[in-house]
Symmetry: C2
Subunit: 273 residues, 2 copies
């Protein structure tokens, strides 16, 4: 079976960039002409995927927005699965993490039912909360390391008695959990934190980074690509959500999304030659 890292490298070569389109479907922001309900959300996502499928190495549905639509939202997610190209990476943004038997149930929900390639997870409960996800070959479980929001400083930037910041300790520890497992461990590192990415790369040179926070949140794409790529050059996905999804609120939303995606991939291309 192809490893996650190999699938990612192929997707980057196919599309020219490491663009992950985040599907943060906010009903209030749906373009005119689409109904503000689960049906509209499905149509919207399908149109976005259709117009960007040669540009996006990955898609990242944000579970919160689907959960907020109740059972219908989950049905939308299941239908969406079929719309995502098989050679694109599907990252489920869920930020889960629980005791063993519960994590097993989540792993089943994402890796078996939805056939995702990847899930985001929270590190707070430690190794045994992540391990059930690592039993699935071809997958990558992205553990939160240094997030893009301002309050990431509350705990992630605290210094431990061993001299490391908490996020560095999480990075090293979590990277170790993946050794000898069927699935890989990756890390979520916010694009707003580029002053830390270079040092982080020295700690974990081979680990795949999922980098949210470019665009609306203010992270700089060039800074991220200069410092954030892995040793082999392909261990990175940069997520952009709102800048692509809501590029236009008119009926031209899909072509506007494509234009934004194209711009991003054009900026990325020089780094993946």
């Amino acid at each position: 079976m192809t490893s996650f890292s190999e699938k990612l490298k192929s997707a980057i070569k196919r599309t020219g960039g490491c663009l992950c389109v985040g599907l943060d479907v906010d009903l209030v922001k749906l373009p005119v002409g689409l109904s503000k309900d689960a049906k509209g959300a499905l149509e919207f996502c399908k149109a976005i995927i259709e117009s960007t499928k040669d540009l996006a190495a990955a898609y990242k549905p944000n579970m919160a927005f689907f959960e907020s639509l109740g059972a219908e939202g989950m049905a939308v997610l299941e239908k969406l699965r079929g719309a995502i190209p098989v050679d694109a990476i599907l990252v489920m943004d869920a930020k889960r993490g629980d005791i063993g038997n519960t994590s097993q149930a989540y792993a089943k929900a994402f890796y078996e039912n939805l056939k995702a390639d990847s899930v985001t997870l929270s590190p707070y409960m430690g190794k045994d909360s992540i391990e059930p996800f690592l039993d699935y070959p071809g997958t990558c479980s992205f553990v939160l390391c240094l997030t893009s929001n301002p309050s990431s400083a509350d705990f992630q930037l605290q210094t431990l008695q061993n001299g490391h910041k908490l996020y560095e300790w999480v990075a090293q520890t979590a990277a170790g959990w993946g050794k000898g497992k069927k699935g890989e461990v990756g890390l979520v590192v916010g694009a707003t934190q580029t002053q830390y990415i270079k040092d982080l790369r020295q700690l974990v040179p081979d680990t795949v980074f999922l980098v949210p926070g470019v665009g609306t949140q203010g992270g700089d794409l060039k800074d991220v690509l200069e410092t954030g790529r892995s040793k082999n050059g392909y261990g990175i996905l940069v997520n952009v959500s709102r800048q692509v999804l809501y590029a236009s609120s008119g009926s031209d939303f899909a072509s506007a999304a494509r234009r934004e995606a194209q711009k991003l991939v054009d900026e990325m291309k020089p780094y993946f030659k």
Copy 2:
């Protein structure tokens, strides 16, 4: 509107104990006679609730098990809402936490759509990931502090340069987030960690604790109740899942669950006189 703490105190007085029945619905473990699907899961939960409703101060559905059933599982959860008595506390065990606009969507899913009283959240992303949940009056957002699983030691027991263990820092910091907000902040503290609960109570004497890990996981109920109650005596919920749910695998599962719940409440009663 009644505050969460007041509703909890009433529920404890009504039932005689601080028992929270965890609805961890594992299809494999469903008793004979129930179909191993969403329909069976709904029947099972309804029967458990019906037979324990005068004993359980709270019910805690575990999102993972419902999510692993896909859209059908979410529909079960919506139907279950109506089966839970209005004077019992509904805790959604979700362990969510994300950037602001995403946390808002989760808060809507749990506090508006499902009309839960409470949700469990992960602290790793800090204050702005929790704040959207605190806009709902009458609710309590339980932040993970010291969890019941062995790997809780990986990060939660790390000592910070300020001399505090990470879980102590989380406790103090998160308790502060609730000040002046519409919703309360509570803490998740595992029953397997009783050697730490006494000190933790000195740091946050008034904060409500949700304590999982009694029963199958090995935590001792007496130890928890001796040391874990809040200053007013009522700021605690002790969760038991498997010991109650799967007390019998036969058709008498509901009455067997009641017997286990009754035993637990009998042990709790002396502490709430």
